[in-house]
Structures are given as C-alpha cells and as structure tokens.
Symmetry: C3
Subunit: 270 residues, 3 copies
C-alpha cells in the first residue's frame, strides 16, 4: 500500500489532472491551493452556461453543497450529467447534510440523478443521507467505529457508490471491500475546508487511479492524513494559524519515508 | 473585567456556539477560521431555502453586507426573522454603509425589519446609518472620540440596539452605559476582514454572555484587540503576511496573563 | 526605470487609490490583502444596484471573469460603463478565455462594449481573444517569446488597449512600444490568484501613473515579480505554504535596493 500511495501521488504530479470544483464560497481558495500543492490543476466554474463544457474537459468533478443555492444546484446537475457522459469521475461532498432539509434533499436528489463515483463526508452527513439516526460526533469509540462501518456500507450499497466516511478512523468502502485508515491530526478539525479539500484531493487521485479506484480513494485519504501528521509535528511550537502553511508544505513535498513509516491502513472483505 | 473576558472566552470554547454567518465573499474563509480558533462552530448558509432553518438552530446570526446582492438580502430578512422568533441574537455589520446608496438603505431597512442586538462598524459606517455628516477617518483625536461617542449613542437609541463603534478607541454602548476599549494593533487595518471577523467573534461571546450582553460585547472586542497586540509583537520581525497566522494563534491560545496585563477598558454611565 | 518603479510604488502608498474589483470567488481575499499590502484600498462590490456608483468613486476598476455568471457579467457592463464615463481606468483579466465558449465570448463582448485600458492575461488567454491558435504553455523558448510578442501586439492593436501578456518573460505593449520583463518566480504558478492579484496591483499603479500609463503597467509587473523573487529566496527553506506570507511581506516592504539590483526590464519600439 505504501508504494501505491507514493505511485499515485507521483502520477498526480505528472498528469496534473484538471479538477473541476463546484464548491462552497468558504473553501474555494483553500481548495485551489491544496490542489496546486499536490500538482493537480484546479478550476472553479459555476455558471450553467459553461459547467457542462468545463466538466467535459476535466479529469474529475467535485460537487460540494457547503453553500448551495438554486442556481448552483442547477449547475451541479448540468456538470454532473456532462461528467457522466464523458466518463469523468464525480465526487460528492454532502456538507451539512442533515443540518437543513434543503441540504439533505439536494444531496439525495443529486445521488439519484447523477452517477456519483464517491461520497466523501463525516459520519453525521453520511448517516443522514440514508436516514439513519446514529449519534456520532466523530469515530472514536469502538461502538462508533462499528456504526460507521455499517453506515458507510449501507450508503455504498444503497447509492451504488464508493463511500469515504472520515473521522478519527476513516472508513473507505464499496460495500464489500473496506479500508480502515488511521492517519491524520486533530488540527484538521480546527481549519475550515479540510474535509472539502480532501474530497478534491481524492478526485485528483481517482483521476490517475483508474485500475483500482477504491484503492485510489484510500490512498488519497492516507496521503492527506500523513501530510497533516507531519505538518502538526513541524508546527508544534505554533498555534493553529501556522498549521495551515505547514500543511500545504507537506501536501506539496511530503517525504516518501514519512509515508512508509506512518501509513496506517488495512483492508478487509465483508 | 479581566476575569469576565477570560470567563467568556472559556465559555465559548466549552459551549462551542453555532454561529450562522451570512457574509461577504471576501471574508468567508477568514471568518470561519477565526471562529474555529476561539472554539466556536461557524456555519455559512445563504440560500433562502435554508437560512431560516439554519438560523433557528444557531446560537448567533451575523448579517454582513460587504458584498450584498438582491438574493442575499432576501436571505438576510428570512434568517433575521427566524432568529428573532427563536431568540437568537443578531449582529449587523453594515460594511461600507455610506459608500453607496444601496448599502446605506439596505442596512437601514434591515434595522427596521429585524430586531438587531448589536451593530458593529467603524465611525463612517455608523454615522451614515443615522445620517450624520461627521468626518472621521478613525478615532484618534480627542474631538473624534467625543464625536464617536455621540454618534454611537445616538445610533443605539435610534435603533434600540447595542452599538460597537470600533477604531483606535472602541466605543461600546447601549445609549446609556458606555465601554471604552483601547486594545488593538494598527496591523488589523492592513488585513481584510478583521472588522468582519470581529463582528462574528462578538456574536460568539454574545451567545454565552446572556447575563450581561453589553459586557459580553465589550469583552469580545477587548479579547480580540489584545490577541492582535500580542500577535503584532510576536510577528514584529515579519511583514503583514505573517501577522495573520500569528493572529490566529493568539485567537486560539491567548495567555490569560496577557489579558490581565494588557486590558484597557473602562465603563461610564451617561 | 528603477526610479520609476520606486516612485510609483510610493505614490500608491500615499494616494491609497480605491480599486474596485469585480472578481472571481476564489481570489477575493487574496486580492484584497495584496492590495492592502501595497497600500491601496480594495473594494469588492458585485450587485447591479451599486456597481455603477462604486466604480464612479473608484480610481481603478478590475473586471475578472474567473467565476463569471450571468448576474456578474451584467454588473461588469454597468461598472465598466460607469468607469468609462468617469475616466476610471479599466483592467480586464480574461481568466480561462479559450477554456469554454462562454468565457471567450464574454471577454470579447466586454472588450467591444467597454473602453478597456489594459488586458492582463497569459499567452493562452490572450491568443484565444484574437482567435490565434498558438500552442503556448508559458513563454520560455525563443520561438514562444516571438509568438507572445506577435500575439500581444496584435491584441493591443485589435482592441485598442494595452496588453500585458505574462509568463516567464512578461510582454507589455500598446502595439508600438513594448516592455520585456524577466522578474518573477516559478512559485507564483503554484499559488492560486497570483495572476488575478497582479491585474489588481497593475490597476493601482495605473491609478497613480497617468503621465505614462504603459510604463506604469510595466512598473507594476516588475515590482510584483521582484517581490516574488525576494519572497522565494526568504522562503527557500519552506514549501509552498510559506511562500504566500513571505510574498505579502515583500509586497508591503520590498527593499528599494532589491528593486535596483534585480530589475530586468527593457523597452523596444517596433
């Protein structure tokens, strides 16, 4: 797995896939800079007049409902259908699903209308998509991890997608194979957009990982988590303001030795 | 007062109030990260389909007209009315009131239609709200401070709100009691969104300071100013690019001793 | 030329021109902070209800189509016409022209309807505006530089504007006089919005460089490139995450000696 993470990371740098993000206004800059840091090419385009064309020339499409509105949702449908027609993988980040009816329903409708490759969200968001009432504030206890696996698997089978349910332990599944990843840093939870950027980074790994896309998703999440761990160590004498630049440094130039030593990822079949 | 500032700061961390921001596109990321730094939970939601629901589950609502448009203003009314119905305190940041007719009128209309708890702005913005023609580029001379107090008091009485008029000396008043705060750093004026973030930080302090909300506003402003002072000192060997990460560090972990030693806040009755 | 760069830089600080940006949602914060760093006053306003009024009180207007949509384009026309009526210089940044039909056509229509002072873009964007099919991924070979000069000159004459075609070598021309600038750092290509901010910085220099506006454009680009060079050196022990704060530091306080020693700019007549 270490070698796969390294190989995919290098493939992103070499191929520089164009990742089209229709995302929320909070994280646009952070997302674009994070994609540049790993060598991908970000593009943001929201207008219905161009999203279909932009998605068709992209290698990945990310739909993020963090600050959704009527116009943007219309553009998401147009971009999603164009991506489907052109075999461009689609990542859905259902930010805040469950917080309002509008978010929950929009996320579900997108899943019904568009062929989504991956849903990337936290336990609360994923469980709300499938209408499960699980009380999870993060995946930290044994019971919570069990619940997370059940929820992720159920969502994967119900929607016919991969699911990456991220928390203290990240669960990546297609409903049959499951990866458990334990890399990351609590500091990620104190910076806005770290989940959103992870969705976009995963899209970049998917763009170059066609031979085993589920493994590509797990590799992206592991890479991201290890980058955060190393950044947190290097920024340990500073507060949260300095974590961000150190994190981008690691996204850009994470040492392969760190990947080999820190990777905590195991795979299981149901 | 020192103890109150410390107590409210800790209460924000413990309660982690959900602060709903309908704000301008320039400062969304900065605002969210600043709220995370003090331990609050930021949410940005703009769509008319969900703002009422989101405001109703929040502990604070911030309306910021920095890049207002027709759709966003409609959402501000919906969110504001929902906040009023659910006893969620509303902070209005009238960014640029006076610069264009549209801004001035929108700010006044919002004040007429919504029960606002606090207006947070600079001298130019507040004076334009009440149609006073005072030439103030910051509150630095004795005359300017006198004018600021008159303007802030008049606005507080006219709109029935608290007013925080920030500048070299910050004036916080309900029209009768007035706090004068002299913490802060000139570097705040060289980073975009520092006023906007202050409005949101104040909203977080209001959410946990119900027993004396005017004091909570003054406490938020003092905390913010002291964090900026300490950050400016720690970043003194660097330019403006480094002030921002140091400032977020201090918002997160400002030493209580610094608060005790630096607090410059006095209260007066009219 | 060194003295001119220094003089204009100081003039920006002293006059603090108000630069009205109608720009994409990715770079709003970065642009505002970059303008503050050089001492200019940024304002972002998008609503049709106010853009005309805002442009009329500004000293520069920047139209950036990076995340254009129907409403924003309408505002660009209103602001542009107001700027023209009030003799406010207009800078157009045709982000992504050529990537989609909507972008290419919108950029051309803006050029037809509004009196634009300067177009600032890369080789691909500028060549698409004039429908030239030149394969340019940056201006790095001798042939590419020759092509760039031809494209920039043709665009300048066709649209009756100044053109700043930026790449490894930056070409600034009015179709007759041409400046070649070789300052900059590859790190600029790894941070989102560095081209967009350059357009806005150029607008600030134009606001104070009326006696020779073409030279003002060249001076802005040289200043920006030198700031990036120095920042890249100071941040050389760090990754891309640290380049950004160091770059803002230099935009704010770039040493005049650095300008004198590093400036690489020559002027030619056709």
């Amino acid at each position: 797995m270490e070698e796969k993470v390294i190989k995919l990371r290098q493939a992103v740098e070499e191929a520089s896939p164009l990742i089209h993000n229709i995302t929320n206004v909070v994280v646009t800059n952070f997302t674009a800079n994070g994609l540049y840091a790993i060598g991908a090419s970000p593009v943001m385009a929201n207008a219905r007049e161009e999203v279909g064309e932009m998605a068709s020339i992209s290698q990945g499409l990310v739909l993020n409902i963090g600050t959704l509105n009527e116009t943007q949702v219309e553009s998401m449908y147009l971009a999603g259908k164009s991506a489907n027609e052109n075999n461009v993988p689609v990542v859905l980040d259902p930010v805040g699903a469950g917080a309002t009816t509008y978010r929950t329903e929009t996320a579900r409708n997108l899943l019904n209308e568009i062929n989504v490759t991956l849903i990337r969200g936290n336990a609360g968001e994923i469980s709300n998509l499938i209408n499960e009432k699980v009380d999870m504030k993060g995946v930290d206890s044994k019971q919570e991890l069990t619940d997370a696996v059940v929820v992720a698997g159920k969502a994967a089978r119900e929607f016919g997608t991969f699911v990456a349910l991220t928390g203290k332990t990240d669960v990546v599944t297609d409903g049959e194979r499951t990866y458990y990843i334990k890399n990351g840093s609590p500091r990620l939870t104190k910076v806005t957009g770290t989940g959103c950027l992870l969705s976009s980074v995963t899209s970049a790994f998917l763009a170059v990982g066609e031979d085993d896309p589920l493994e590509a998703v797990a590799s992206a999440i592991a890479y991201y988590g290890i980058a955060a761990e190393v950044a947190a160590e290097k920024a340990r004498d500073f507060g949260i303001g300095h974590f961000q630049p150190f994190f981008f440094n690691e996204l850009e130039t994470l040492d392969h030795e760190e990947i080999k030593q820190r990777l905590s990822c195991r795979e299981e079949e149901i």
